[in-house]
Amino acid sequence: MSETQQTKIQVRGLSKVFGNQPKKGLELRDQGLTRSQIHEKTGQTLGLSNITFDVMEGELLVIMGLSGSGKSTLIRCLNRLIEPTEGDIVIDGENIPKLSDKELLECRRRHFSMVFQHFALFPHRSVQLNAEYGLEIRGVDKAERAQKAREALKQVGLDGWEDSLPSQLSGGMQQRVGLARALANDSTVLLMDEAFSALDPLIRKDMQQELLELQSRMKKTTIFITHDLDEAINIADRIILLKDGEIVQSGTPEEILTHPADDYVARFVESVDMSRILSARHAMRPVRATARDDDGPRTVLHKLSENGLDSIYVTDRERRLLGLIEVDAADQAARDGKQNLDGLIHNDFPRVGPDEPLHNLFAMFCDKSYPIAVVDDDQRLLGVVVKGAVLAELAEAGAH
């Protein structure tokens, strides 16, 4: 995500009306009628209304919504399995709705591979021949497509199953074939339509992890449809939330979770276990006082009593965290007349990075009564997490 990103697909003002008078439907929408009013009046169903978004090169974009929200329609409009009523879909300079049949065929072959909810494998073809399908219809020669299909099957962990029929495989394995079929094609965009929704929960988690691994290797532009927020959070670089054919909110998983745009999003969010999503950064408080490594014991004692603390973090000039000093140790050293902090600093306390999920912090609170220090990659002290703050943050996020 850090490298500069180019836009891969631009969707502008995309609408879809199902019915025999689509223009009429759009007219009424422009007059401000709602989806159900339009349906009542004309029998036209407004499937998508004025959808605008960008897909970045290499990102994993999740389009999420409940059934009937239009997410399946949206993904099918992209490769025109469903004809959009109006709007532009520009991929690498080509405006898809304007393409002729022949150009569309070419565009689908070059740009889009699709993975389907119910796998949609060809039952009369072996696993190998399923994976070869996209290349076969493009006229790639036999040896090359066999090679590419084998590589794709290997990537999804199906080497050795080439000659089996899809019906001989479990659901999870069948969807790996579906994924291999899409990967072998070497298209620029991967469309995944509820790809993991038909799998049982454990397999589903595995597949999500594998998709992330594949994604980290291949950086393929992926549009993933799901109705499951947990899944979306788990895999998405960015999420677009769809409701009644319109975009309700888009943003990173964190943005959506912490600032749901409206009740609809909030209801979605409630179902997520927030402690897995929020990280130490969210519950972190600034440190009230720190000691420097060139302070003497008396200075430290002063800072402790001033702030009502019984222990204090010690940093160097660059705010790099060196350790912790207890009030008892500082008091003893002052009485002994020591001039520096040598031997007083200990490191027997937890420290975490700012992206550590809150979920993982609970266990740390159990062992020790110390707060948790949050440090960046250079060990600079960013803040501190106390037990109460974690719970408060969770409660607040849940109440949105």
Binding site: R108, R109, F122, G134
Partner: protein, 280 residues
């Protein structure tokens, strides 16, 4: 009190139409007739050139390979009985008519069935025609066949093709329409052309259903070929016909049993083809 409504001369119209066809297209019908007759002769001669035991061995072997040992033995026993009853030659004649009529029916039915599956308009047009073809009493087809093709085997094949074709069309259409929508979507999504979709996805997946239709067509063809004895087609049907005219129930049943044996063999054979295709 009966009101005197003039009778609609439906029959006259049809006859007029048929007369027009026979007098103006006789070159076409005669051409078809000659070509078909030539085919019939070739196949007939080929099957009869083989010694009885030779053909028996070939059929039995085929039955065994495709349908298992029981079907193989059944073929031997059944064919031996036909041979023994002296019905070998009529059986060959009937088989020839069935094979040729079925081939013609399939050659017409497959493209029509595919077209009807892919176009809703054509589907709406063809289905009533099929209903008509199937429900019209089979004998009726025999009457116009004679002016077109004269008495004999070619007329029999004409009537048989019309009578036996509908199931092959129906099942082909059904088979293609039954291909799951998501598979069609997958084929489209990867950028298949219409013909790639048809030959790589729709047809292979509808094959079992298409084979069921062909099985039905063969069975109907056999029943029609027997009836076609009434317009002078040789074969087992004409043996039955002769027995009726001479009031010889024994001979009639013998020929009838030969038809049953042939029907069972053809049926089991085509069904086994279907199963092995499915099992692959």
């Amino acid at each position: 009190m009966a009101i005197d409504i003039p009778r609609i001369p439906l029959g006259d119209w049809i006859e007029g139409g048929l007369d027009f066809l026979t007098s103006n297209y006789s070159i076409v019908t005669r051409g078809i007739s000659e070509v078909t007759q030539a085919w019939i002769n070739v196949l007939n001669d080929a099957l009869m050139w083989l010694p009885e035991w030779g053909l028996m061995a070939i059929i039995a072997l085929l039955c065994w390979r495709v349908g298992g040992i029981r079907l193989g033995i059944g073929a031997v026993v059944g064919l031996a009985l036909i041979w023994n009853l002296g019905l070998w030659i009529p059986m060959i004649e009937t088989l020839t008519l069935v094979v040729i009529a079925t081939l013609v029916a399939i050659v017409i039915a497959l493209p029509v069935g595919i077209a009807a599956a892919l176009s809703d308009k054509l589907y709406g047009l063809i289905m009533p025609v099929l209903d008509f073809m199937q429900t019209m009493p089979a004998f009726v087809y025999l009457i116009p066949a004679i002016p077109f093709f004269g008495i004999g085997a070619v007329s029999a094949i004409f009537a048989t093709v019309i009578f036996s074709m509908p199931p092959a069309i129906r099942f082909t259409t059904l088979g293609i329409r039954q291909v799951p929508k998501d598979l069609i979507e997958a084929a489209d999504a990867f950028g298949s052309t219409r013909s790639q979709k048809l030959f790589k996805v729709q047809l292979p997946l509808s094959l079992p259903t298409v084979m069921a239709g062909i099985n039905q067509t063969i069975m109907l063809a056999l029943s029609m070929v027997v009836i076609a004895a009434m317009i002078g087609a040789d074969g087992l049907g004409s043996e039955v016909w002769k027995a009726i005219q001479r009031l010889r129930p024994g001979e009639g049943f013998e020929a009838g049993i030969a038809v049953v044996i042939l029907a069972m063999l053809l049926d089991r054979l085509t069904q086994s083809f279907r199963r092995t295709k499915k099992a692959q």
